[in-house]
Symmetry: C2
Subunit: 252 residues, 2 copies
Amino acid sequence: MAGERPAQRDLQHTLRLLWRAQEPPRRGPRGSLSLDKVVAEAVRLADEEGIGAVSMRRVAEGLGVTTMSLYRYVPGKDDLLDLMLEMVTGRPDTSAWPGTWRGDLECWARQMRHRLHEHPWMLDVHISGPPLGPDNLAWMEAALGSLAEAGLDARDAVGVLMILSGYVRSQALLELSLARAAHRTGVRPEEWGRVYTGMLRNAADDGRYPHLMRAVESGAFTDGDEDGDADFEYGLCVTLDGIAARVPPAAG
Amino acid sequence: MAGERPAQRDLQHTLRLLWRAQEPPRRGPRGSLSLDKVVAEAVRLADEEGIGAVSMRRVAEGLGVTTMSLYRYVPGKDDLLDLMLEMVTGRPDTSAWPGTWRGDLECWARQMRHRLHEHPWMLDVHISGPPLGPDNLAWMEAALGSLAEAGLDARDAVGVLMILSGYVRSQALLELSLARAAHRTGVRPEEWGRVYTGMLRNAADDGRYPHLMRAVESGAFTDGDEDGDADFEYGLCVTLDGIAARVPPAAG
DNA sequence: GATAACTGTGTACGGCGTACAGTTAAGTCT
DNA sequence: AGACTTAACTGTACGCCGTACACAGTTATC
């Protein structure tokens, strides 16, 4: 479902897990499991059946092991979720970036969107705090580099980065929830816009929503939802225009 | 925790609930409960103890009634969550808006942020699809009105609205997860920036994150997090600048 | 008064995260 | 070589969760 995650957690331990900075134990049996295996199985489950399928029991089952043995490698499910995020986050591929701040940020945003499309369950996992893992930091680093090149000072760059990553996540979340709403109600995705339009017309056509009705009648909902790419690029452009207003005119 | 909500749901029924369009039954005992009472109790619980405290059992307990009796009023928990969102969403107060598109959207965004601060659990509930309830539509209507006045056509207005509401949600979510991370790790919120900085310095100072380290050393994380309002206004300005680039020069 | 519609109860099921107490296997030390 | 320590993994159990289902009590209509 949804919810906060109030459990107390040891920050140092979490960090050690994220950076794989746990020195291997000197005694005891060589374990058949490993942190990577546990996380990888959890990711596999999430990819195939959604985040709802990721339970300690099912992860253990997938590894041929009892539930409680997982707790030798992970302090609890919340940490497992964080580790899953870090694992699928990967690193941005900057090799083909054009080198202008705007072009770089466009690539950054598209690559991040691509990741979210590959693993939609990433949007179901509430981020538990500021990024701490190596790969998450690598994404920050890449964007901050481009923004520094654009001439923004560090403070502004951080603020702007939050806006951009927030935009990418929001847009992906929007696409995802539309797709799920369509799926859940048994409507084909291409038809959802039409259904939504009809619903608004029935429910809301009492004169209290004139602009909304005009938008509906103009087809803004009917036509748009089938092409997420165009919507994304449009919003990306708007967002980058806002950032451009903060960039000193000298820079690219 | 977190997760998708795959349950099949009857769209017509959900709509009837959101709009309170259920005609009262003609026979049977007058119920002691009502949809509003159920939703209100769930909201009360969420406000006081967080979304994690909202279970069918506890809502029923709070109403002095058995768990299953709730299902006479709500098809399931997912619908209850949607109804909670609709209830606390309320309507935007447009009475003191300046009338320029930019001023109006600023008020819109601040009011929405205010709502999210009053009920942080709103950010824990995954929106299940496009807005359908009367109050949610009222928020759309208000923003679309201002954007129409700015001269944007309906398509662009919808796209821009998604960006703006996405920004407000993202920023609020960021604040919330920072606050929770601080709380969870037992660090005072004002000190979290300092702790985070120290952590990055220890974990990431291997030369692979030069720009990130520069941002850290410059205090972009240390100083900023204590003043969410300033961060919000900064990002709002950036976002609106992006929108301004889409507004025909004639208008406001 | 019979009937049908409706409200609320009680029990039960399968799932969840995880605390806790074993049991077995591998190093370390005398 | 044997004792000791540590770690890996098992098994059971507890208290939550959402909700399916059968039932009892109440009310308006025929």
